[in-house]
């Protein structure tokens, strides 16, 4: 099954090249240069992973991360940035990022992280379903 990935970065040329390479590797990729549009996309579609630039115009990447996790707690978000500092990395993890990668990224490493994200999301979704079923059984007294 191909992973469904959302790429968010304000650099159009970066998005186009990265998306093409990921598609060539069998992934289903959507892209956007806008943080607001990314939030809309996350609300509308179920993604296995979101690769998000930390420095977005008008909205800080960490704010976008927080908003995405509020909308979809199971979402696996990998932060991509031109500058990686330990402090930012710690903050990102605290807000629920799955990982933090510095640009220029190694596509092999990123692809591996996307596979991990997809597996992690599946575990979380299954757990959620199990809890739902358990709750239903308890409520109905079956």
């Amino acid at each position: 099954m191909s992973e469904k990935v959302l790429l968010v970065d304000d650099e159009q040329d970066f998005l186009e090249a990265m998306a093409t390479r990921m598609k060539d590797r069998g992934m289903e990729v959507s892209t956007t240069t806008s943080a607001a549009d990314a939030l809309k996309k996350v609300e509308e579609g179920a993604y296995d992973a979101v690769v998000l630039d930390l420095m977005m115009p008008e909205m800080d990447g960490l704010e976008v991360l927080k908003a995405m996790k509020e909308k979809r707690p199971e979402l696996q978000i990998i932060l991509l940035t031109g500058y990686a500092t330990v402090q930012k990395g710690v903050e990102a993890m605290k807000f629920g990022a799955m990982d933090f990668i510095e640009k220029p990224a190694d596509l092999k490493v990123l692809t591996e992280k996307i596979h991990q994200a997809s597996a992690q999301k599946m575990v979380l979704v299954e757990k959620k379903i199990q809890e739902k079923v358990k709750r239903l059984i308890q409520e109905k007294g079956w």
């Binding site: 650099e11 040329d13 115009p57 500058y83 640009k103």
Partner: protein
């Protein structure tokens, strides 16, 4: 060391660090795009080796994207070089238009992060002043930073450098939110120290949504 020199030193170091970090971030972005496009070229080569037909148009597109980023990187490095050399001499002749243009370029990413456009009126004539270029740039940056915060809904800061009878000035206009800015918060200690060192004045016209930085012919 006097308090003024302490403030100037600290402010200058913060300014240099902020600009250097922003430049390095921009260069990282350039490298990331080159990296992805070079990677795409490698992918196309591998596919061709496996017998898939290679589309020359795709190769041309990738090559032109790489060249575009190299030009962008070169422009960033040129600006960085000019900025770094501004600390070489304590006093020299500078064109205020050039200093303003350099600061607009270096502040571009900060403006974009705040959704603000910096618009400089194209210079019609040179505006020469004898000044300390690094301190001048530091003061322009602090004013730009403040002006971006006062841009309001228009999200544009209009800038103009011009000669005056007593020297030269930089106008910051279209500051739609200037009237709502907290009184007394600007200019602060850092701006005041720089204004004194450059013998410059800052006049804020809240009613006109403008502020003017005026300089003597020689500071």
């Amino acid at each position: 060391m006097s308090r003024d020199w302490e403030v100037l030193g600290e402010t200058g170091l913060q300014f240099f660090g902020k600009m250097a970090a922003s430049i390095s971030h921009e260069l990282k972005n350039v490298m990331a795009i080159i990296n992805e496009n070079a990677g795409l070229l490698e992918d196309l080569t591998i596919m061709a080796e496996k017998g898939m037909p290679m589309d020359p148009q795709r190769l041309k597109t990738q090559a032109s994207r790489i060249m575009k980023q190299i030009r962008r990187g070169d422009d960033i490095i040129k600006s960085m070089n000019r900025f770094a050399h501004s600390a070489d001499e304590p006093l020299r002749q500078a064109d205020l238009n050039d200093s303003l243009a350099l600061m607009c370029t270096l502040s571009g990413r900060f403006a974009s992060m705040r959704g603000v456009t910096l618009e400089q009126e194209p210079p019609s004539t040179a505006v020469p002043i004898v000044t300390h270029p690094f301190l001048l740039q530091n003061l322009i940056w602090l004013c730009l930073d403040f002006a971006m915060g006062c841009a309001g809904a228009g999200k544009t800061v209009f800038l103009k450098a011009e000669k005056t009878e007593g020297g030269a000035k930089i106008g910051f206009s279209k500051l739609q939110d200037l009237a709502n800015c907290e009184p007394g918060s600007f200019p602060g200690e850092r701006e005041t120290a720089l204004l004194q060192a450059l013998k410059a004045d800052l006049i804020i016209h809240k009613d006109l949504a403008e502020m003017h930085l005026t300089f003597p012919p020689e500071s």
